[in-house]
């Protein structure tokens, strides 16, 4: 797990892949995401606040078989893809509507 300061008072850790030993071979699950940890003195008093946020999503699976064979597969993110496309479509709809509205008003 590598660490890097995201802000002066936070620490961002990138998450190392998970390794699982199975009867077939060693399975490595690569993840996308990070953990951000922070600690801050609020104002001038002795108050303190601490927080931790993390988000992880499996992206790739690698199997190293006992016979030396290696196989890889991608973990699809269908819901995320659909949501992102819908967000873009929403933006396009709003933009087109605003342009049309402006043209009609002029």
């Amino acid at each position: 797990m590598s660490e890097s300061p995201a802000r002066a008072w936070t620490l961002r850790r990138t998450i190392a892949p998970a390794r699982l030993e199975t009867a077939v071979g060693v399975l490595e699950v690569q993840v996308r995401g990070a953990a951000v940890e922070g600690s801050r003195r609020m104002g001038s008093g002795p108050r303190r606040a601490r927080f931790l946020l993390y988000r992880m999503r499996p992206t790739r699976v690698v199997v190293e078989r006992g016979d030396g064979g290696r196989e890889e597969a991608t973990v699809p993110d269908v819901c995320g893809q659909v949501e992102r496309r819908m967000l873009v479509m929403g933006g396009v709809v709003a933009l087109l509507a605003l342009l049309l509205e402006r043209k009609l008003r002029s």
């Binding site: 797990m1 850790r13 998450i15 190392a16 892949p17 998970a18 699982l20 199975t22 009867a23 077939v24 399975l27 699950v29 690569q30 993840v31 995401g33 953990a35 940890e37 609020m42 008093g45 002795p46 108050r47 303190r48 606040a49 601490r50 927080f51 931790l52 946020l53 993390y54 988000r55 992880m56 999503r57 499996p58 699976v61 199997v63 196989e71 890889e72 597969a73 991608t74 973990v75 699809p76 993110d77 269908v78 819901c79 659909v82 949501e83 819908m86 479509m89 929403g90 709809v93 709003a94 509507a97 049309l100 509205e101 009609l104 008003r105």
Partner: protein, 134 residues
């Protein structure tokens, strides 16, 4: 217990939040492997969480203590958090092949479609109103 309340809260805070980084590792996204008739099934999940704690402590003004009232000390704190895990795929592993079966969350897609539909209807209605006013 004679421990300073501020110190007690700080200890609790450091103990609770200090343990959390060890939970935030990739093992959290991999479920237990199930083996049946030569096939191994491993569930994968998307995990997100957030925790936060805050505390404060203080004493009454020194002048009050001089007036015969004893200077008092107090402290308080609070915290909260939430976590979410959503299944994303199931790995099927055999002696010869590796397959990843995706888990489609139809509720999430339906909610996103409804939101997009409502958004589009709003913009169309707005544009039609402008068109009618002309």
């Amino acid at each position: 217990m004679s421990q300073d309340p501020g110190e007690a809260i700080r200890d609790t805070m450091n103990g609770t939040v200090g343990r959390i980084p060890s939970i935030a590792n990739a093992d959290a996204v991999v479920g237990p492997a199930q083996e049946k008739s030569g096939r191994i099934a491993i569930p994968l999940a998307s995990v997100s969480a957030g925790f936060g704690l805050g505390m404060g402590s203080g004493t009454t003004d020194a002048q009050e203590g001089e007036d015969g009232h004893e200077a008092q000390q107090g402290g308080g704190g609070g915290g909260g958090g939430g976590a979410k895990a959503r299944p994303v795929a199931v790995i099927e592993l055999t002696e010869t092949e590796l397959k990843v079966h995706q888990v489609v969350d139809s509720t999430r897609i339906t909610v996103a479609s409804l939101a997009l539909g409502a958004w589009t209807v709003y913009w169309i209605t707005r544009t039609v109103r402008v068109f009618r006013r002309r």
